[in-house]
């Protein structure tokens, strides 16, 4: 390597360095020129902008769209609430002012640091909200003393209210203050810290329509920062009002019927009840979340209301007429400042009131699944309407013995009488002959195993098992015994109450794959539903069986008929074991539900449609640990259906 070459390179680097230095000089000159332009040449213009009057922009929150039921009864509205504000410009010592406010209203340390932080960031003439949602008592106290505190003022704002209280909680959901995650996802929310956003329910799913578009105000202030005038640049446009297909009259009735069940309400005031509440943690949890219903069961024990779900759906339009999940909660708790105490009570409640059981609760459908199996068998041609099987009370497959719910058996039964009496052995037989693949296919067509697409957040898809499903989820091969168990809707099969209502609505409708809808604003015309694609003759047989459940001499729900004047009702009971019955227990005699601990009792299910001739409404009822479907769920479904037809008619 030559010495000269090295020298050349050093020179080259130096030359380039010189060029870079020249570049720096030129760019700095550019900056200096720009500064000269702003600060010397155009200075008077900017001085004018600064000295004369200044504008400050303020974003104006839009009014949130309201929610109504089908009769325009208000489900969610906006009420005025009072805010406590400070204007740092007029406050001498912000920390002292806040300290004295602390003696007048409730303020958390976070709220105080929040105000202090905000004060550093925003123009000092801008109001800062110290507290939202002042109570009447706080307002009165402030009215007297705030005159002594300069820079403290009141403002009005809108607060979301749910006038129906707990009744609509799982449908409307609730609105609560914007969270940090939401701001990350949507920067436009940063400018609207006071605005609430929907967290669950319709408030969440239709957030964009309900929210509206924020407006903008220009506030003219003088050099000292005092506001002079307010201009409205862009008016806020209110969110869209939405009308739901829900009927609050029916909803109230359904909630009462479901929660009360077969229990007898008691008066809270009596000393016996008070004593029981003091001793029983579960009762205390109910009272703590504001539920004032305490009841007495058959054994004279004091118990909380039943939990479960009830869904009523229009068989033609798919409109949800009523959707109840129990226990319930008061959505008004969330709109203002949710107290940690309330939040903990709701979260620690043993029966999870925040869970919407109608769409997120998964239950084995039990015998209500038998229509699916019957339809699949008819379609596969493995049975006809007349095919009979003999039920000796159990069926044997290999080493396993599958029991019928009736120890002595049902004798020879066909599909209609097997549905009527809910004979398990008949469905074991036809499930085996049909195979799980065809059962799954039928179940999917009836709306099971996939989310129904209702506009509520958090809907579960349930499970309709198959060979592939088991391999994928359990890594094991499907066995015939599992087909047998699936034949009576147990084992892996899981469905939500909403799915069971949709299934029943599709059986009742017979032509279209009815899909549930909550908004009347965009209710699809019934013609838009996909065709159901199940043979009418097969559906007819299954519907006959469902009629027999109510009207047959041995029908499992014959004691809970819907009045003939209302057109009668067809249905199907379901009783789902929660705990496996051991062989020893079976020999000793099964302990009746009422004597078992609550959590070990059977789930009671009932699905039905009415009227029989021209079906208009379908219903699904699940009473968690309620006992048998015929005794616990059928009467509830009957009462709700009666109320529905009386209220809405069948036209």
């Amino acid at each position: 390597m030559s010495k000269k070459g090295k020298k050349d390179l050093r020179r080259a680097i130096s030359r380039r360095g010189l060029l870079l230095a020249g570049g720096q000089l030129a760019l700095t000159g550019l900056l200096a020129g720009r500064l000269y332009q702003l600060q010397v040449a155009q200075s008077s213009r900017y001085k004018g902008l600064s000295d004369r009057n200044q504008f400050d922009m303020r974003v104006v929150s839009p009014r949130r769209g309201r929610l109504y039921d089908r009769n325009m009864r208000l489900l969610a509205g906006n009420a005025e609430s009072f805010q406590l504000r400070v204007t740092p410009l007029f406050v001498d010592d912000l920390e002292r002012t806040l300290a004295s406010l602390l003696t007048i209203v409730d303020l958390t340390p976070e709220q105080i640091t929040n105000v202090l932080d905000t004060a550093k960031k925003v123009p000092s003439f801008q109001d800062i909200v110290v507290r939202d949602d002042l109570s009447q008592r706080e307002l009165a106290r402030l009215a007297v003393r705030s005159a002594l505190l300069s820079g403290v003022s009141f403002g009005r704002s809108l607060r979301r209210i749910y006038p129906q209280g707990i009744l609509g909680c799982h449908v409307t959901g609730y609105v609560s203050p914007v969270t940090r995650n939401e701001i990350e996802a949507d920067q436009t929310l940063r400018a609207l810290p006071d605005l609430g956003t929907g967290k669950i329910g319709v408030e969440f799913t239709h957030e964009q329509r309900l929210r509206g578009v924020p407006g903008r105000e220009r506030i003219e202030v003088n050099a000292k920062g005092q506001p002079i005038r307010v201009f409205q640049d862009v008016a806020a446009s209110a969110g869209q009002d939405l009308r739901l297909s829900l009927d609050m009259g029916i909803q109230l009735h359904a909630a009462d019927a479901l929660r009360q069940g077969r229990l007898t309400p008691v008066k809270l005031g009596s000393s016996e009840v008070q004593k029981a509440i003091a001793e029983n943690a579960e009762l205390r949890a109910h009272i703590a979340v504001g539920d004032e219903m305490i009841l007495r069961d058959e054994k004279k024990r004091l118990v909380p209301p039943e939990s479960g779900a009830a869904v009523v759906i229009d068989v033609e339009t798919g409109g949800i007429v009523s959707l109840v999940s129990a226990p319930m909660f008061d959505p008004n708790l969330f709109t203002g400042r949710l107290l940690t105490r309330d939040w903990q009570r709701l979260n620690n409640h043993p029966r999870t009131p925040l869970l919407n059981r109608a769409i997120s609760g998964l239950y084995a459908p039990g015998s209500t699944f038998k229509m699916v199996v019957g339809l699949a068998a008819l379609e596969a041609g493995v049975i006809s309407q007349k095919t009979r099987f003999s039920c000796p009370g159990h069926m044997e497959l290999g080493n396993a013995k599958f029991h019928c719910w009736r120890k002595d058996g049902h004798g020879a039964v066909n599909l209609v009488s097997a549905l009527e009496q809910s004979c398990d052995v008949f469905f074991y037989e036809i499930a085996l002959k049909t195979g799980i693949k065809k059962i799954k296919d039928m179940a999917r067509r009836l709306g099971l195993g996939d989310s129904t697409g209702l506009d509520l957040h958090g809907e579960k898809s349930g499970i309709v098992p198959s060979h592939e499903w088991k391999l994928a989820h359990h890594g094991k091969v499907w066995t015939p015994g599992e087909t047998v168990v699936a034949g009576i809707g147990q084992g892996y099969v899981l469905a939500t109450p909403l799915q069971l209502a949709v299934m029943t609505a599709r059986i009742a409708n017979g032509r279209k794959a009815v899909t549930p809808r909550l908004l009347t604003n965009d209710m699809t015309s019934p013609d838009d539903f996909a065709p159901l694609d199940i043979a009418p003759a097969a559906l007819d047989v299954v519907r006959q069986g469902m009629v027999k459940v109510m009207y047959g001499g041995l029908g499992t729900a014959r004691t809970h008929k819907l009045a003939d004047t209302l057109g009668g009702m067809a249905g199907k009971t379901g009783t789902v074991q929660v705990k496996r019955i051991t062989k020893a227990q079976r020999e000793e005699g099964i302990i009746s539900n009422i004597d078992r601990p609550w959590a070990e009792r059977d789930h009671a299910l009932f699905v039905a449609y009415a009227p029989i001739k021209k079906p208009r409404y379908a219903i699904a009822v699940v009473v968690e640990h309620g006992g048998s479907g015929s005794a616990a769920a059928a009467p509830v479904a009957r009462d709700i259906m009666a109320k529905t037809i009386k209220t809405l008619g069948v036209a």
């Binding site: 390597m1 030559s2 070459g5 090295k6 050349d8 390179l9 050093r10 080259a12 680097i13 130096s14 380039r16 360095g17 060029l19 870079l20 230095a21 720096q24 000089l25 760019l27 700095t28 550019l30 900056l31 200096a32 720009r34 500064l35 000269y36 702003l38 600060q39 010397v40 155009q42 200075s43 213009r45 900017y46 001085k47 902008l49 600064s50 000295d51 200044q54 400050d56 922009m57 974003v59 550093k120 960031k121 925003v122 123009p123 000092s124 003439f125 990350e184 400018a191 903008r216 050099a223 920062g225």
Partner: protein, 362 residues
């Protein structure tokens, strides 16, 4: 080398100029909190003192040791940036790392790592290869990797500054002119293509830069307010603690990215020009040092550090005066924020080491 000789060769003039900028910064931060050492000005001075101490320590490290470690620094920087990507992916912003209660932004010292690695790379290339384009490709990769990681954070401003610092070393190392001009042509020609690839919000940001009045509540608000504050300062400013725009909180981020504006309102054109001159003087002094040192590594490193410091100043001042889009760039030594200050002091320390330990090229 004796301690005494080392101290004699220390570039005290650079440290004096840096101290002047720190003092200006402390005054501005004192004013930004309405005449209080809390919460910014006091900590600013403490950090600067730590930074100066660091310069002295780094100055005594042999530049050859730094040279030997330079690839390791780059690997470390890339690893930390990549780790941030993994750790921060859940929260969306992967810019910060927390060490002992201090929040550090690894993308700032990464700029120095890139400079050192490139300087070493060109230092080790045989002379006859400087005309070939192949020689410059590994150098581009050394820039591209950290650049993409920082871009992904996402921090467009820092990523661009990092790339510009690296590219200026490639330029200084003697990239033949045909390639320099060629790449400029390619960049200009690809603008329309890139534009069509941008996300809607990125386009919106560029449009805001071209017409700030349109977005009066977002980035446009900052620029409009910044221009009012600067312009109303006039030639000599409104006086210390008298800037109404800043004191009334019209000016956002006045303690960090918009500190130059705040100084402009209170000390006017004269004050701003003074700051520009101090920065420029520091940069030119470092470039002059690059002439004096003998080793190619030291020479390129000094050029890189001078350019890094200059780009900090240029991007920040360009941004607050509305010449460049709002990308979020600090004004080191003046604005409140530890990592940029630390990076600059680290750079000064390396320059000092380059002078003190300068030897004949082997």
């Amino acid at each position: 080398m004796t301690m005494w000789r080392a101290l004699l060769r220390m570039p005290w003039h650079l440290l004096l100029l840096a101290a002047i900028l720190v003092t200006v910064g402390a005054m501005a931060l004192y004013s930004a909190s309405q005449g209080s050492w809390q919460p910014w000005a006091g900590r600013h001075i403490v950090r600067a003192a730590v930074g100066l101490a660091m310069v002295l320590v780094v100055a005594f490290v042999d530049i050859n040791l730094i040279r030997r470690m330079s690839y390791a620094f780059l690997v470390l920087a890339v690893m930390v940036l990549a780790a941030l990507m993994v750790v921060g992916s859940g929260t969306g912003v992967a810019r910060w790392i927390s060490i002992g209660g201090m929040n550090l932004q690894p993308s700032e010292p990464a700029k120095i790592a890139v400079i050192l690695a490139l300087a070493r790379y060109f230092d080790s290339q045989p002379l006859d290869r400087f005309q070939s384009i192949i020689t410059y490709l590994p150098a581009l990769a050394m820039i591209a990797l950290p650049f993409l990681l920082v871009l992904k954070q996402p921090d467009l401003g820092t990523a661009l500054m990092l790339a510009l610092g690296g590219l200026s070393i490639i330029f200084a190392a003697g990239l033949p002119w045909r390639y320099v001009i060629g790449s400029i042509v390619v960049v200009v020609a690809s603008v329309p293509v890139l534009w069509s690839q941008l996300h809607a919000y990125q386009k919106a940001r560029v449009m805001t830069f071209l017409n700030p009045e349109a977005d009066i509540l977002g980035a446009g608000y900052q620029i409009t307010q910044s221009k009012i504050a600067l312009g109303s300062g006039g030639f000599f400013g409104k006086g210390f603690l008298m800037g109404s725009q800043s004191q009334l909180n019209y000016l956002p981020e006045k303690q960090t990215d918009f500190v130059f504006t705040m100084i402009g309102e209170e000390f006017g054109f004269a004050g701003n020009l003074f700051i520009l001159m101090v920065y420029l003087t520091i940069c030119l002094f470092i470039l002059r040092i690059s002439y004096r040192v003998k080793s190619r590594f030291s020479r390129l490193t000094c050029i890189g550090i001078a350019m890094m410091l200059f780009f900090y100043m240029f991007v920040n001042v360009g941004m607050v005066t509305g010449l460049l889009p709002v990308v979020g760039a600090p004004l080191p030594l003046i604005s409140y924020g530890g990592t940029a200050m630390l990076t600059v002091f680290l750079g000064l320390g390396i320059v000092a080491s380059a002078i003190i330990h300068d030897r004949r090229e082997q």
